[in-house]
Amino acid sequence: MHPHDMLPRDIAVRLIAEDGTALPDEAYALPAADVLLAAYRGLVEGRRINDQAGALVRQGRLAVYPSSHGQEACQVAAAMVLGDTDWLFPTYRDSVAVIARGVAPAEAMVLLKGDWHSGYDVRAHRVAPQATPLATQLLHAVGFAQAAKHRGEDTVVLALCGDGATSEGDFHEAMNFAAVFHVPVVFFVQNNEFAISVPLSRQTAAPSLAHKAVGYGMPGQRVDGNDVAAVLAVLTEAVDRARAGGGPSLVEAHTYRMQAHTNADDDTRYREREEVQAWLARDPLLRLRAHLTATGTLDDEAESRFAAGAEEIAAAMRTALNTDADLDPEDLFRFVTATRSPQREEQWQLLRDEIARSHPAETMTTGGPR
């Protein structure tokens, strides 16, 4: 591949215009109608999950929620392009992708509820724990893919990160290891223009983040991140390439974080309302709905079926999160290592004694609480 061919396009790939019109593209075909309909359902559910989680934060049922409101096209596409044997490596902002991949919303929210550091069975859904230390998970994704390749397994790994995370050294090392070892990883950057308060212009001076790919010897591509059709097409190509032994690639989605970084953030301090408003017109849901309605793929029946499904998910979230989990303090010690440490066991016993003293009725101890 000539270096020029590893460069992304000057303008991000788009398959559906903001008004819903299909835009023919020489390289990427519009996904089939049923795929787009499934994507739309995902968008509706994803939006509902984001909004429901936001409400649960305000009600104090979630400790924190980094919303992907506005980025649902990326979230849904990330889950849709993966097969059963593939793996997803998400960040804290990718709860919708995690749920779209099959994790129960209540389990996906365990981290944000504060009940544990991660709450789902990673192997059951082939989803790594959501990562907080930025860009670190990209290396895990590469190593994971290396192991799969080593054993000759049919696994493609999709590794997610934000625009800010591309500045970390680990992003660089992950891209480089993936390219040198030619492993089946797709790096998917959701460039939502902000890293908390820091705008993209303070993150990079590059023509685009996808231009970094050539420096590792892999193809890079840019896509309109609010056009789920385009994201599906571009990611599918990248996943297919990886599966066929064509090695890693980098996809940058241009999107926008419509809400504050998390509920704890105040975005009025660092960006103009007009800027946020302007992105409303590019909303991924409205765009796809316009397209599907115009093409007759989406009718009122389907629309209300999807809405009802999304409501069900939201209701399940509320039920799950309004229930206080039965937490066992001894879990603090239970999982640290698989092998024993006398030091920790001593501390564990101390905690057990404290608990026994504070719940004397439930235990055999004779001493009362302090």
């Binding site: 504060g114 230390p133 995370a165 908390i196």
Partner: protein
Amino acid sequence: MTIAEHETPVAAHTGTTTTMTMAAALNRALADALAADPDVVVFGEDVGALGGVFRITDGLTARFGEDRCFDTPLAESGIIGTAVGMAMNGMRPVVEMQFDAFALPAFEQIVSHVAKLGNRTRGGMRMPLVIRIPFGGGIGGVEHHCDSSEAYYAHTPGLTVLSPSTPQDAYSLLRAAIASPDPVVFLEPKKLYWSKGEVDTAVTAEIGSARIAREGTDVTLLAYGASVPLALEAAEVAAGEGRSVQVVDVRSLSPFDDETVTAAVRSTGRAVVIAEAPGFVSVASEIQARVFERCFEYLEAPVRRVTGFDTPYAPPKFEHWYLPDVDRVLDAIDTLHWEDDA
């Protein structure tokens, strides 16, 4: 409008001193340092327009300009590494690491350069830089947001490690840190950011000195950061039980004030060290060992420590089981071979 009067960090004037939160005191220290010395620059992630996720740099960019307080790309090694370069070239960078665990990507720069460059160049280049780290737990933060990594820094020769527990110390120690020709890791107990106290900006602090936070004759509690108010609370309860408890705020973890600490423990003959960090190979174990060695002949009982467990920091809902609390401190005091023991 002065920075201390600014919206978020609460501050109110009362005579010659001002009552303010620790956050406001830190903000004020940064502002005063920026105003006093053109070589001081403040940078990090989200410290500009946002004013930091804890608002410690609130208003600094507006007041001093983008040149003096600015956001960087999201890369902690980059932040510390460029700060090293600036310090080599005569600046006094004050950088913010957003949370304790997010300073770790910069660990090589800190250990191999920040701590060593002055020695490497035989003093030809000094490293007058300050690394501010909001540290510790008690705020219900999710994983990676509540760690206490002072042991890593205190073990590293060449680094000064400070942690204030009052707004006054926050102000005075941060000014002293910025004025120091040597690199300082400045650990800000997140849990105390919104605690209030009087601050006299004319008060200067000496790096390397501990502070007697409460007088007492029966037992000495040694603590720093967020464990100091805990120690004071325990002392209060113990007083109710008839025990006179002395509290020492270590505040300068490295260098360490052996003189004050040794004298304190010798005077009571009993001691408990309190810290949030996991206890194994920790600052608490260092203090325990030093006190043992220097006060051996004076001790009525083994020195105890009450620390975080040797586990990863707890998830928010488990925090209250994890953190040292008054009961644990009182339990530890109870083990100190009292004459009235059965």
